[in-house]
Symmetry: D3
């Protein structure tokens, strides 16, 4: 059943992709094109919104996010996107100073097929490695994202 | 083949377990007993060495590590140990101030069946979320651990 | 006079305790019961509110906070609660990324008998160990908490 | 032309100075007087507002900011204020937990003659040393400050 | 008995003081003189060694440590040195990146009369606020300092 | 005279460059080639040594450092390399967990023409923004680098 859910997630992502990714401009590198695809799969429309918001102040930073962050770092085949997103949620929870990005990657984890219970679990785990405050603020971020998406968590032990 | 390797890892871990976990003392809680098992699976003999080193200064901290950290946090079934260890390696790489624990969990990731390439990958990924210095120091820790274990990394793209 | 104030604080806390701690359920461990008492002494009603908020997303994290955090870590007799709360306020000020928990423990420090001037002092001290931004944001948190409680600080040198 | 702009900035700062710095009180040390001048040059009226806000809770912390932070640390002639403010913007962006102070020093960098493009650049650079989340939140702070001041960034490569 | 121990500690510190603090030079401010006294009480000879080591590279930083850090921040009467040192040990344990200073302040806590068990306790407490790695590295620092001083910890619960 | 020194530094760097940068391989992108040049200017031979050390474990991370970090981030003309290196030294000092990289960029700052006194100054400044421990450990790193290079600091006020 988990596989089914994951497949459904991929289908949804693929549909979203078809709608969001503009056709490659002439001067776009293969990494940029790959990056736009991965960005859309992970963040839906939110990521390209972030990149757009940078256009009038730091457009190159936006290009780096797409071309290097998503086109190179996250697109390497050595690790699946589910493990990558869980690891990013863990790291941002532990760091504690990047709540907007933590929320974005909780969305991202769900977008690439993680179960809400897995996202909650990896945040809870950070209590042991970064302390309760980090874990509690991580859960607060998850609660916000889940409410926005209408996601219910199965809390039976 | 990956499944085979993982199974072999589990068998090795189980053997190690049989050798390392002393029989439950009378006053040990179920969580403590569970914790010792998970500790042995994840850290081999190193974890119980760490706990022993605390006996003459902070034995209760050692009990917390076993009973709460490994017996409760890491033993919950909601997430597999491979995902947990990759997430911990990511978080400790990003935090940057806990090199001994990072090395322990790089061992841990390998002990529970992660491929060296996956460990390297999740550390590299932290370049995007915590910067190059954190990622480079994480790779240095991995290099040390891999050398100690005679592990070779497949670096073909 | 300081002793009188501290005693009054304890009496108030004890009264609060009688109102807030529900009778022990059948399956509650001794550590959980002890934890609920310490949680109430330190945080008044706020802590159990935090734990309740976790029920629909990460109830086990709430149990850990009560049973391990307050029932074990904070309940050990080796250090008094006043020193513990001042130390926690110092650490959260220095870390800088946990403002909600910092506010909770500024309340906590006052709840267990610390004088407002002592709370302010330990935050100011962090200027030397974690820099002015951390100390200034810590004071901003204290200002908020003191306003909420109607606390005035004696600022004569 | 850059020199002209810098000079204009200094003139504006000097004018602001004349309006903001109250005459030295009798008990003010030379470092305090020097600190008030540097504070006004760097932060305009905002810094003295911050110091004022501390009067009813931690006035000595305010005195330390002026006398030690601005009167001694920032007033040493070994490094110009432009380099100092760029370095502070970089450090606060990297630390990630001090957004109010980051905004204050983005103002500060502009006040002492940095070009908006230089401020943006040093924040972007932090992507490499502290990761994208830190850099993105730094740019968000800059965007806020620039909007407040009506500053436009030249984004041509 | 604890009072006796504390008094003995003060006497020892006072004796040490008499030996370590050179007579005030002509150009030393009252804060500097006060700072040298507090530095000697807290750090014994180690602090002035640190300051000396700065003479050929950043002597002013050494002056700031003495005059501002110890002469002003730590010398204020609003909080006793024992609480201050416990708070500093907690904060440096939580930050995790300042092991040399953590060791210095574990010495400092003992020098101003904290019991080894209190030092251990405040470090253990950080497991809850900053995670196990920070607490374990803090205990490692304490173990080193205690070994150097021949201090034994009473670990009975 | 400062200009002369800076020019001499550039000449030395250019000479070093001629020796260190191997001819561009066929498959090297313009960003990679540019990155190798900037890497050599900033780090001398040390940077390419770091990249080489990654070849058997994470070669792509090395490519990212050169192509993205040095070829894109640090090579943009909006900010001079001296300001960039001072900002990086400040940020790494404040973060506190990346001593090897801090030492590399203290070398880097000197390599691109910063005076030792400027490097010391920006590290000292971090006492105000990240606390004394960070600044003291930063100075310790500088002391090591200066000793290695035979650099003397002018400490007259």
């Amino acid at each position: 059943m988990r596989i089914t859910v994951a497949l459904a997630g991929l289908l949804l992502a693929a549909t979203a992709l078809a709608q969001q990714v503009p056709p490659a401009a002439e001067n776009e590198s293969p990494e940029y094109i790959k990056g736009k695809e991965t960005l859309a799969r992970v963040t839906g429309a939110a990521g390209s919104k972030t990149v757009e918001n940078l256009q009038d102040i730091a457009p190159e930073l936006g290009r780096w996010v797409v071309e290097w962050g998503y086109g190179q770092v996250l697109s390497r085949p050595q690790l699946d996107l589910r493990s990558r997103e869980l690891a990013t949620v863990a790291a941002l929870t532990a760091l504690g100073h990047a709540q907007p990005q933590l929320r974005a990657h909780i969305h991202g984890a769900l977008n690439v097929g993680c179960k809400p219970e897995e996202v909650v679990e990896v945040i809870m785990q950070m209590a042991a490695y970064a302390g309760f405050p980090a874990a509690l603020n991580g859960i607060a971020a998850a609660k916000e994202v889940f409410a926005e998406r209408g996601v219910k968590v199965n809390t039976s032990p």
